[in-house]
Amino acid sequence: MPDGAMPVLDVRGLKTVFRTRGGEIHAVNSVSFSLRAGELLGVVGESGSGKSVTMMSLIGLLPSPPAEVRAGQVMLGGRDLLHIPPHELQDVRGAKVGFVFQDPMTSLNPVFTVGSQIMEPLMRHMGLTRAQAADRAAELLALVGIPDAKKRLKSYPHQFSGGMRQRVMIAIALACDPDVLIADEPTTALDVTIQAQIIELVKDLRQKLGMAIIWITHDLGVIAGIADRVMVMYGGQVVEQAPVAELFANPRHPYTRALLKTIPSLTGERGARLQTIEGQPPIMMGEPVACPFRARCAHRFDRCDAENPARRPVDGAPVGQGHDVACHWNPEGA
């Protein structure tokens, strides 16, 4: 991991709320993280913890209303994406940041050929001619491992399998050689053997192209295999962040600890009973004034109800650069 390198993406104090009839949902609450060149940041957390909304907020993909990005700074290439004109933001989305979503079928347009969908950003953002774009599109399809690439440009999305469609999505995301690739549960809808193909592909592309990647998943196994650093989210907040080996070896947040214990393993000791995290995720109504995990936490004490814990360093390194946790409890002191 390139330590100390300048971050390509730097997010500070991001806050996003949804205004609903029932009140304000605080979906993302003061989220900060940065991404260095060539680094793969894994983001884990249960459904509704704010992973997707965080990433969509960065590049203005949320519908407003009901969404409102209320505070924060998103620095990419020297500019704050939260404060640039919409047309510039569109360029950033096409050329600087690539996106891959969970369900490739909903993000591909069924009425256009796969080729034209890869060529579109190339012509729009890179100024390539039609012929140049077609050549480049074939190259990209080959790069993501689709055999017979030139011929397959003329296929429609429904003629591809789920795994192939996800490869096409990756090809589109990579078309303009982005600095950052954001992959939101890119393999969740796929079978494990196809997931293994896609993970292999991304590892390979990363070596070749050296871009920085944010990989969102709820699967700790996937994270263990690909991430350099891991950010754990709960209730709209970052509750822990650490280098991958450190997070698995020395989890500090009660949620991370419990999560690691609930998943049965494929090898090793088979426990008689699974550990559980009792209770339900928080509803996230209103400004958080206490720890979001407190209703389910085994280590909760008075302070947890009175004060939402800030992130603090675990290993001495500044918050965001080493291992940090947002929790009042101190396992050593306890």
């Binding site: 079978d191 997931q195 292999e200 690909i226 393993s265």
Partner: protein, 352 residues
């Protein structure tokens, strides 16, 4: 029965479920999706049989055909002494209470306009002549069993979380004291933190009520936790059927090997050094399965015979059944054909 040796509660023999394909203006029958194509297995009383495999390989279809939610194309399904596949409608109605299903999507399987008590009590309306009081008592008892607060009885499904809705589905399945339950991906729609709660509940109920499960899942780690034996399906057929520990320690069928090697593990050190078998290509269509072994288009160990002769599911070690020429040849001392070695293992995962 006098001896304590477990007896099969469920005996499936050569089960086939083909769905016709119609095409053209006249909707002529042009072929069939062979969703399940000759599947045989037993499930012992009180046992959990795991059923795993990739999407579309026929797991749900097996589960549904077992409960006669589909009329099987061929084969027998003997549950507790009766062939469910051929029961008359009236006999089937009587049989229904003993065999139940828990579905993947608790949301879709619960009527949004019925209260929780009405949902759980519905099977009692259909199959018992009990009065309201007796039914409510049973509903409360079931709610206790699955860990739902009795105060929730008058609420509607949308007021519950995914995990709670799955408890409702389980309570409903238990209403008529079934012996056999098909759990079709009962935790797939739930968050990791909630999955463990539901699996623990299923295990507790099995122990208390002596239930027999067919547990369908694509989560191989969870299947290792819950199942006693595991059947690995590929393209409508069973590739391997083995006791849990034997399968996870040493899968014999090349597909079972690839499948297990593809499962990511929550252990960075292991992940960095694991050898992964990356299968090339996609699963063929069940409307047009390959000749010979149905795995031959993707098998890293394929050899000539695989493309012409279909391997039969054979007991290759006590209790282990495998459908692969390579494995059966080894067992019978037959020599390995040339080209059968050199598995295309791919080294994966440098330390990052």
């Amino acid at each position: 029965m006098l001896d304590d040796a477990p007896q099969p509660l469920v005996q499936v023999r050569d089960l086939k479920m083909h769905f016709p394909i119609y095409a053209g203006l006249l909707r002529r029958r042009t072929g069939a999706v062979k969703a399940v194509d000759g599947v045989s297995f037993d499930i012992m009383a009180g046992e959990t049989l795991g059923l795993v495999g990739e999407s579309g390989c026929g797991k749900s279809t097996v589960g549904r055909a077992l409960l006669r939610l589909y009329a099987p194309t061929a084969g027998t399904v003997v549950i507790d002494g009766e062939d469910v596949a051929t029961l008359s409608p009236e006999a089937l109605r009587k049989k229904r209470p003993t065999m139940q299903m828990v579905f993947q999507d608790p949301q879709a399987s619960l009527n949004p306009r019925m209260t929780l008590a009405a949902i759980i009590g519905e099977p009692l309306d259909e199959h018992t002549g009990w009065n309201a009081e007796k039914k409510l008592a049973r509903v409360y008892e079931l709610m206790d069993q699955v860990g739902l607060n009795r105060a929730f009885a008058g609420r509607y499904p949308h007021e519950f979380s995914g995990g709670q809705r799955q408890r409702i589905g389980i309570a409903r399945a238990l209403a008529l004291n079934p012996k056999f339950i098909v759990c079709d991906e009962p935790i797939a729609a739930l968050d990791v933190s909630i999955q463990a709660q539901v699996v623990n509940l299923l295990e507790d109920l099995q122990e208390r009520l002596g239930l027999t499960y067919l547990f369908i899942s694509h989560d191989l780690s969870m299947v290792r936790h819950i199942a006693d034996r595991v059947a690995v399906m590929y393209l409508g057929q069973i590739a391997e059927l083995s006791p849990r520990d034997a399968l996870y320690a040493r899968p014999l069928h090349p597909y079972a090997q690839a499948l297990l090697s593809a499962v990511p593990e929550a252990d960075p050190a292991r992940e960095a050094t694991r050898r992964r078998i990356i299968l090339q290509g996609d699963v063929p269509s069940p409307a047009n399965p390959p000749l010979g072994c149905n795995f031959c288009t993707r098998c890293p160990k394929v050899f000539d015979r695989c493309r012409v002769e279909e391997p039969k599911l054979t007991e290759v070690e006590p209790g282990r059944f495998v459908a692969c020429h390579l494995v059966t040849d080894n067992m019978t001392g037959g020599h390995r054909p040339a080209g059968a070695e050199a598995p295309e293992h791919k080294q994966q995962g440098e330390v990052t």
